[in-house]
């Protein structure tokens, strides 16, 4: 038997961030689903209702952090899945930067949406 099973041994920054964002997302994704399907039904979502939620700075900050964490976790997850699949060389570099740009654009667009909603209350 190995004495140590924990993989919290030396690892890369992105490896650790994948776990940190996972711990955050477990809570916030569950909250997001619960709030927008059980507390408020998705079919009843309106601009005014979303704007009222986004006008609360705590909710706005949580949603922006949620977006940043989910984007990093998802994009980094896709990158690592492709690397495990055998992605290498120039293709690996191209995919890395392609995913990074897609992630930055997604976060930027998401923040534009959040601002539009927050300003509409």
């Amino acid at each position: 038997m190995a004495e140590r099973y924990s993989s919290f041994a030396p690892g890369g920054t992105s490896w650790l961030l994948q776990r940190v964002t996972a711990a955050f997302l477990v809570v916030v994704l569950a909250f997001h689903f619960f709030l927008l399907h059980f507390v408020n039904h998705a079919a009843d979502v309106t601009f005014a209702g979303s704007a009222a939620r986004m006008a609360e700075w705590g909710y706005y900050a949580t949603m922006v952090l949620f977006l940043v964490a989910a984007t990093f976790h998802g994009v980094n997850g896709v990158y690592n899945a492709l690397v495990n699949q055998g992605l290498d060389g120039n293709a690996k570099t191209a995919v890395k930067w392609g995913l990074a740009v897609a992630g930055v654009l997604l976060v930027a667009q998401g923040i534009r949406v959040a601002n539009a909603l927050a300003g509409g209350a």
Partner: protein
């Protein structure tokens, strides 16, 4: 100090052709990967739909309510719930495994994730489908 995962040759990583020989942990890994692909795909779609907020309140509300009025969207949302709940529960299992906690029960934790996902999804169907048909 040798770590358990370094003691044997696991073959080509991501060799899905070996699926007949997969154990619970391998299926958990496949399911986590599949649900992860669905979730990141949905995230881009979600932000695209919410971007209608940039065109004004009427466009945003009309788009959301127009989509929600379609039964197929409601059914897909149940699928999304299943995918998200499994990814969350198995994600907790993975965090515990990473911390070296409950390793001897990791296979049962996977079965528990599947079972709990099924129960939560079935219990949620009425809320998701209400008014769709």
């Amino acid at each position: 100090m040798t770590r358990a995962t370094e003691r044997y040759d696991r073959g080509v990583i991501e060799d899905f052709g070996r699926w007949r020989h997969f154990t619970a942990g391998m299926w958990a890994w496949i399911f986590h990967k599949f649900t992860g692909w669905v979730l990141i795909g949905y995230l881009f779609t979600h932000i695209a739909v919410l971007s209608t907020a940039l065109s004004g309140p009427a466009t945003f509300t009309g788009t959301i309510q127009g989509l929600e009025s379609q039964a197929v969207v409601r059914v897909l949302e149940v699928g999304l719930l299943a995918v998200a709940v499994f990814h969350i529960l198995n994600g907790v299992r993975l965090l515990l495994v990473d911390l070296g906690m409950g390793l001897e029960h990791q296979d049962r934790a996977f079965y528990a994730s599947l079972l709990l996902t099924g129960l939560i999804v079935v219990a949620s169907v009425p809320v998701f489908i209400e008014g769709a048909f």
